[in-house]
Amino acid sequence: MWPAAVYAALAVVNIFVLFPLYSMIATSIRPASATMTVPVQWWPAAPTLAAYASIWVGRPYGRYFLNSALVASATTLVSIGFAALAGYGFSRYRFRGASGLLMAMVATQMIPSILLLITYFKVVSWFGLYNTLTALVLAYTSFVLPFTTWLLKGYFDSVPIELDEAALIDGCSPLSGFLRVILPVALPGITATSIYAFLLAWNEFIFAYVLTDSSEKYTISVGIAHFFGEYSVAWNELMAAGLVAAVPPIVLYLFTSRFLVSGLTAGALK
């Protein structure tokens, strides 16, 4: 009796979670004239993939997709590169002001990013980077760097210092010890942090919207916002675009999930 109740409750929660996804899929395969029917059609009478074709052919969705991939990948690479070095430094070295610096990084996360929008706009314009993907990479890196540094600092703390010492004894310099020994061991943490950085850059809207002004530079989130017209919304195309936009993060997660769940330092010390 009790397990049945639990399963029933889980089923309800699943329906609650999955219904929006079902609705997106069902809407994306409807023709434009049938996206809102009265009475409600739970499944389209004549399913079509026309909306999926339309977003690639009728709109520069490929360009949006490429821009998002470039911006998110670059943000991830740059931020993880710096965060790994900074996190390792905070974890292994004691220096004056270290705790103050870490607290300052946390403090930056407490400022709503929207308040920085106009300042970013000014800085980006001043450097001639308005309407460039570089501006977005710089902005997103500045958002994610404090948090990723904190995450990786915590992760490096959990890596035994004996590994560093073993690397030094074997002839590594501190930097090569970090690159050759510690970094591979920290891969699960770096992967989790990378996913965070990638998703933030992939999903972000308002900075991408304000700091770009041509469709050649739009990211997916900005491109999709343009599906909302003044007088009409192409709901089927909007849902198709949303579903396609969800594919890269899902694929990324599928390919990296094994790193997330793998042991931290299993077999590292013999």
Partner: protein
């Protein structure tokens, strides 16, 4: 004999002078090449079809006549245009020209983003103001009555109805309802099964509240006192109008059950699918509905909204242009504004965009005057106006949206809901 020590200051200064001269020459290079003046034009039109192509066709013509000026289109989304414009202006990188509608104009003017057009208009031989209706023009003034925007296109809202649905219900499509009582009678006759007489906008958003203006204005009600400092909605005329409108859904059930969640997008679909026979909308409704359901082409017609006490129409889409305060090319921007709002450009607006030009003389041109849609809407254009102007427009609309939802769902009586909304508006205006 000059020693190295004696010569060094001279050499240093000489070198610096040469450097400055070289820099000056480098900087002067592009100027002497006379690069065209670039006018950055920010509008949501560029992401819309056919609004964007119409505007770009006009730019091409303008650039042909003015080879030293180039117009650069900057696209914003319709929904998010104000945040982007505001950020750009605050960052000192605003466009030269910006397009917006009456609800946002008072705030943008009060923030000092737009250039006062009065001196520019006074310097012209032509009476520029005579190009537009008073209703359109006066939607974009400051407290002193100075104008900051030139209207580009316009579109009062009327009754859009499905002639075939009328015929099916035994009604004459050439005799649309002219009074509120007739509207109710027609709606009852058009309601059958899953088909409803009228599609109401009850979502409580801007589009829904905007359509409710008509009912109040037509019944002699208003939102603010003439000085704009207090709410005027707690009046018998206002409450009667809200009750009549809400009863179409609550009591007579001649509108779909989904009215409290319906706005523009939903009613587009309902009209296109033939679920509702009438909606309150503008000339743009035709293109939108036919895009969803091409088979409906030729079935839709337009008429003035049925009148109660006051013959009036709500200005629905007066898209207008301002020269921003950050523009370094006011003279060129003014030339473009004059061009876009002149008679010939108005014909292009109608032909490509399918929206009415704001220029009243263009509306009298033979190409437009004979069009059945122009014939239907022309009387509305003459009496169209914006219900009220306030820098607190958004907050006031939100208060009225809450009232709209309360009335439709029956969570409060109409009188109690209107009283609460009136108090909220007074509080908003006091802040």
């Amino acid at each position: 004999m000059t020693t190295w020590r004696q010569a060094r200051p001279w050499m240093t200064w000489g070198g610096a002078a040469l450097g400055v001269a070289a820099l000056a020459l480098t900087l002067a290079g592009p100027a002497t090449a006379q690069a065209p003046v670039q006018l950055r034009f920010m509008s949501w039109y560029f992401g819309e079809d056919p609004a964007g192509p119409a505007l770009k066709a006009l730019f091409a013509e303008f650039e042909k006549r003015n080879p030293t000026i180039k117009v650069v289109a900057e696209t914003v989304t319709s929904a998010e245009r104000v945040p982007k414009f505001t950020a750009a202006m605050e960052a000192g990188r605003g466009p030269d020209i910006y397009m917006d509608t009456p609800p946002n104009a008072p705030n943008l003017i009060a923030r000092g983003y737009c250039t006062n057009l009065e001196p520019l208009m006074k310097a012209e031989k032509e009476d520029i103001k005579a190009r537009f209706t008073k209703g359109d023009l006066d939607s974009f003034t400051d407290e002193k009555g100075d104008h900051y925007f030139l209207p580009y296109s316009t579109g009062p809202m009327g009754l859009i109805y499905n002639a075939k649905a009328f015929q099916d219900a035994g009604l004459d499509p050439n005799q649309p309802p002219r009074t509120w009582e007739e509207l109710l009678d027609y709606s009852k006759k058009l309601t059958k099964g899953d088909r409803y007489g009228i599609g109401l906008f009850g979502k409580g958003d801007n589009s829904s509240v905007w359509r409710l203006w008509y009912w109040w204005m037509s019944n002699g009600g208003s939102v603010l006192t003439p000085d704009g400092k207090r709410s005027a909605i707690n009046s018998p005329e206002f409450i009667e109008a809200v009750d009549f409108w809400a009863d179409l859904y609550r009591k007579h059930k001649v509108a779909p059950p989904s009215v409290p969640t319906n706005s523009f997008g939903e009613n587009n679909q309902l009209l296109a699918q033939g679920v509702v026979a009438m909606v309150e909308s503008g000339v743009w409704q035709f293109g939108v509905t036919e895009k969803i359901n091409p088979a409906i082409k030729g079935q839709l017609r337009a008429a003035p909204m049925p009148t109660r006490k006051v013959k009036v129409a709500v200005g629905g889409g007066t898209d207008s242009l301002c020269i921003t305060k950050s523009s370094q090319h006011v003279k060129e921007a003014w030339e473009l504004l004059k061009f876009l709002s002149d008679e010939q450009s108005g014909v292009t607006v109608w032909k490509i965009h399918g929206k009415f030009p704001a220029n009243v003389r263009a509306m009298q041109r033979p190409e437009l005057k004979s069009d059945p849609l122009v014939v239907a809407f022309e009387p509305m254009i003459q009496v169209a106006r914006t219900p009220f102007k306030s820098t607190k427009y958004v907050e006031i609309t939100q208060a009225l949206g809450v009232m709209q939802q309360e009335v439709l769902t029956g969570s409060k009586t109409t009188a109690a809901s209107v009283k609460a909304a009136s108090d909220r508006i007074d509080a908003i205006l006091r802040d």
